[in-house]
């Protein structure tokens, strides 16, 4: 059955008609055209479709769009404030924490979440936390380095 829902995507309120069985990932990509959210496994395994739903990270391929009605959604575009990159984005660039770039929006956003909520995270904890997203190019060491370097900007 079709219904209308409201999503606040990166601070902008958007209304969209959805089917009950539609995935949040598909609504974001195909209906709202938010293409930084990638689809690569459609089973919650690779993490390329990670977004923040009301501030918490979720894999949008295993969330129904209907469940997200009224929610705030942040994607990597939402990290840019007044045209300025966030510290984690800058750290990713400086540390070479990306190769092909397909997983980069998900990793950047997730690392931003981690640093915003746990600015004192240790490297060992970070490795575990990062293990929900796949980087097939194998840029994990550089991603970890970027997070460790960006830490200082997130401490209160």
């Amino acid at each position: 059955m079709a219904r209308n829902i409201t999503l606040i995507v990166n601070g902008v309120k958007r209304e969209v008609e959805i089917e009950d069985n539609e995935l949040l990932l598909d609504v974001l990509r195909e209906k709202l055209k938010v293409k930084s959210v990638k689809a690569a496994c459609w089973r919650g395994e690779c993490g390329a479709c990670t977004i923040l739903l009301n501030g918490e990270p979720v894999k949008s391929c295993i969330v129904l769009a209907a469940e997200a009605d009224g929610s705030e959604i942040t994607t990597v575009e939402g990290l840019i404030k007044d045209g300025e990159l966030s510290p984690i984005q800058r750290a990713f660039i400086e540390n070479g924490a990306l190769q092909c770039g397909f997983c980069t929006p998900a990793f950047t956003l997730f690392c931003h979440y981690i640093l915003s909520t746990r600015p004192d995270i240790t490297e060992e904890e970070l490795r575990e936390e990062l293990s929900g997203i796949i980087c097939r190019c194998g840029t994990y060491k550089q991603i970890i380095r970027a997070v460790m370097q960006a830490k200082k900007h997130y401490k209160k």
């Binding site: 690569a40 575009e77 990062l130 994990y140």
Partner: protein, 797 residues
């Protein structure tokens, strides 16, 4: 001379696009009026297709057209044209596309796929490549003799042999006679997935005027264009191939893939653009993966460790088609043992069809498979003789300027040096020194090393070119066809342009959509060739640019061109730095105060083709197969949990003689990324098939690739810089060699830790544990004792 940009750790050019999400992949693209295609695939591993009934499927609202194999009677492929567009009369594996539905929406296409009725007449399948070689084996490609093929390949019609290659130098039998020890071992490698995150994705529009425009997630736009033209009989100039950002390639997006099907579907659907994107499951079952290998290797050595003979039989399981794998098996054959100075070597390398998923190139291109077998064999020779594994390698590796390779090539003095790589790695892991005490009594720690090399596997005439255009404001457009899917090659190329022209690197512009209409030709982006071949073309184009600038400037300043130098965006008179002209006043032509103008827009052009490569002798495989060799060594320290069979890499070190690290940050990413991929393949990865030939694990839960928690605690990257005189600033390629040595180094470390030889990949816990039980039951007994002691201690307390 100090360089401003060469050797500098600059981030990838397109980093900003990637961290902000504005990097657009084919996955993200939509064209106006675009339709969606989905595949109907075979449920039998080997069968005749007797009937395809699409009548019910066509009734689904939104379905535009449905195509079957008979609609598209073309043969595709890079080296052997063994692929059909859709199964024409028979299917060769479970997942072989039989029909394609085109619809207004993806949902409609998916719905219709389920309603296409296909009738099959099952044929006897063959899954094991050794069985496929038997005389009465079912024939998978009965028309093999009729296929188009490149000159270097020899399919054997009437058999399942897609290619046979023989390398022969000296006399191995004599070499074995002269040896003090001879061993012979068998090795196996499973099918593995490239697992690039962006699945194969293509949009094509066949236009009414006969031109075709393609947007595709591919490594090599020009190869896609040429092979499409060749297969479909379309003039090359009628096809435009555009490649936006690519979500990983690793060899799996080289050559040609789904572009012909998508273009033909567009034509059939009334010339509207059509998008075909594989699901992850389809990527495992209908797309091509890395071959499996069965190998038998025999080696003979003198007491002191000198290798006297090496003999191999490599059987590449090509699956249902192997248009690219024929060259993978050939490359494995001609590179067999090539890091060693071997007086006698023989290798027969076959690519054999089976009724499994088709195969293609993957990072390393036959070398990881051969290096696994050779480096494990050398390790076993060393333990048999009691010669140190490092010493046996140092004794036998080729010496630049002295040794002759397995294909009979006298190595040049500037060829690079594997001994330097071995020494660096040995030092970094404190080879021969003590290992740290494991955390638990049932864990064991060991060290391992391996040595290897690779050059680009390309046809001798594979060419590259570059165009450099200067703009009004002195910015520069760099137009090269080489791929940009994470390796960082184009970043390094812009550094070369900035260095040579003496301009800020930000002024060198590279457009991320690489189109055959807007970029200079390069054969393919494969084989670690990009920086070397396209780099040389760029250097030649820069010389052309500089010559043109100096010609105009020399007239203006009334001096000879050779008295001028270009730096800091100006042309200077040598020795008189106060006399200069800004580049921006020259690039579009110089205008004198009275309005007279000279020169004109400056466009530089450069090219590269190797004058040295040869075809290989069809009987012996002798000749010059490649343009350079990058030598490398891998060292690692691992911890083996003998109770569970789990292996964990604690420290990883890799050293490569890459001539010159143009951008050490890109090099670091390649070395670490290569280690992680090599480790992932070594420890976790295996596509498994059930007895009906169905892939059992087409997803990332059952097919595990390395995650952040799996990586070594410590990773070291070492660049050795013995320059290659004809490489750009001395550089050699680095993209593939970075994963070659990882699996054998890990296995050699496992042997060092627990004395168990692992010769089959992957080394996942079950396999390791089984091998411990088979080869060293006493180890398990000892563990039992240790555990009992611990329990008794606890009880006493």
């Amino acid at each position: 001379m100090a360089h401003r940009y060469i050797g500098k750790r600059l981030p990838q050019l397109d980093s900003f696009h990637k961290v902000t999400g504005i990097a657009t992949f084919t996955h993200d693209l939509e064209l106006p009026g675009m339709l969606y295609a989905k595949l109907v695939t075979s449920i039998y591993p080997h069968a005749k297709v007797s009937k395809v009934d699409a009548s019910e499927a066509l009734k689904v609202p939104g379905v535009v057209t449905i195509a079957t194999g008979r609609d598209f009677p073309y043969r595709l492929g890079i080296y052997v044209g063994d692929r059909d567009v859709l199964a024409m009369d028979k299917v060769n594996w479970v997942g072989h596309p039989v029909a394609a539905v085109v619809a207004e929406t993806l949902e409609a296409a998916e719905k219709a796929v389920d309603l296409v009725e296909v009738e099959y007449e099952p044929l006897e399948p063959v899954f094991d490549p050794l069985k496929a070689l038997e005389p009465d084996a079912p024939l998978i490609h009965p028309k093999l003799g009729e296929y188009r093929r490149a000159p270097a390949f020899t399919p054997v019609p009437g058999t399942n042999i897609a290619n046979r290659f023989v390398l022969k130098r000296g006399n191995v039998e004599k070499g074995f006679e002269e040896s003090n020890v001879v061993i012979e071992k068998e090795f196996k490698l499973p099918f593995v997935s490239h697992a690039y995150l962006e699945t194969q994705s293509t949009i094509a529009q066949y236009k009414m005027d006969g031109t075709v425009e393609v947007w595709t997630s591919a490594q090599s736009p020009f190869a896609v264009r040429y092979l499409m033209a060749l297969s479909l009989g379309i003039p090359v100039g009628n096809i435009t191939v555009n490649v936006p950002f690519v979500g990983g390639g690793f060899g799996g997006k080289a050559g040609l893939a789904w572009e012909p099907l998508t273009a033909l579907l567009s034509k059939k659907a009334g010339y509207r653009p059509v998008k075909l994107e594989l699901s992850r499951k389809e990527q495992f079952t209908s797309g091509a993966v890395r071959d499996g290998v069965y190998a038998k290797v025999k080696a003979g050595a003198k007491k002191d460790g000198r290798l006297m003979a090496l003999k191999g039989r490599l059987i590449f399981d090509a699956g249902g088609y192997g248009d690219y794998t024929v060259n993978v098996s050939r490359a494995a054959g001609y590179s067999f043992g090539e890091v060693y100075d071997l007086p006698n070597v023989y290798c027969e390398s076959l690519a054999v069809y089976t009724n499994k998923v088709p195969t293609t190139a993957m990072r390393g291109f036959g070398h990881p498979e051969a290096v696994w077998a050779v480096e494990r064999t050398v390790e076993m020779v060393s333990s048999e003789l009691g010669v140190d594994p490092l010493e046996i390698r140092l004794k036998n590796v080729v010496k630049p300027g002295v040794s002759v390779t397995v294909t009979g090539e006298k190595l040049r003095k500037d060829a690079g040096n594997p001994s330097d790589c071995l020494d660096a790695v040995a030092k970094a892991i404190n080879w021969g020194g003590p290992v740290r005490k494991p955390g638990e009594p049932w864990r064991y720690i060991g060290k391992g090393i391996s040595v290897f090399c690779k050059g680009p596997a390309q046809p001798p005439n594979a060419a590259s070119s570059a165009i450099i255009k200067l703009n009004e404001d002195g910015t520069v457009d760099l137009m090269v066809g080489t791929g940009n899917f994470g390796q960082g090659t184009v970043t390094s190329l812009t550094q070369i342009v900035a260095e040579e022209l003496g301009i800020p690197v930000e002024k060198v512009k590279f457009k991320f959509i690489r189109g055959t209409d807007s970029m200079a030709y390069t054969w393919q982006t494969v084989g670690s060739r990009g920086l070397y071949t396209d780099g040389n073309a760029v250097l030649e184009a820069l010389e052309d640019v500089k010559k043109q600038i100096k010609e105009v400037a020399s007239q203006v300043l009334r001096v000879k061109p050779e008295d001028l130098e270009i730096r800091d965006e100006k042309v200077y008179l040598k020795g008189r730095p106060w006399e200069s002209i800004p580049l921006s006043e020259l690039v579009m032509g110089y205008t004198y105060p009275n309005g007279n103008s000279i020169g004109g827009p400056i466009i530089g052009r450069g090219k590269y083709i190797s004058p040295l490569n040869t075809y290989l002798d069809p009987e012996t495989g002798q000749g010059i197969p490649t343009i350079f060799y990058t030598y490398g060594a891998t060292g690692c320290i691992v911890e083996v949990d003998a109770l569970t069979g789990k292996v964990r890499v604690l420290k990883a070190v890799q050293a490569f003689d890459l001539g010159k690290a143009i951008n050490p940050l890109m090099v670091e990413c390649q070395i670490d990324g290569g280690f992680i991929m090599g480790m992932s393949v070594a420890l976790f990865e295996e596509i498994t098939f059930d007895e009906r030939g169905w892939v059992q694990n087409p997803n990332f839960s059952a097919y595990w690739v390395a995650h952040a928690r799996d990586i070594p605690d410590e990773m070291m990257e070492i660049s050795i810089e013995n320059p290659q005189s004809d490489g750009p600033y001395g550089a050699r390629g680095i993209g593939e060699v970075v994963m070659l040595g990882v699996p054998p180094a890990i296995a050699n470390a496992v042997y060092h830790a627990i004395g168990v030889n692992i010769n089959n990949m992957p080394m996942h816990p079950e396999n390791i544990w089984k091998e411990i039980k088979k080869q060293k039951p006493e180890l398990l007994e000892e563990l039992k004792r240790k555990l009992m002691e611990i329990r008794e201690l606890k009880v006493e307390r």
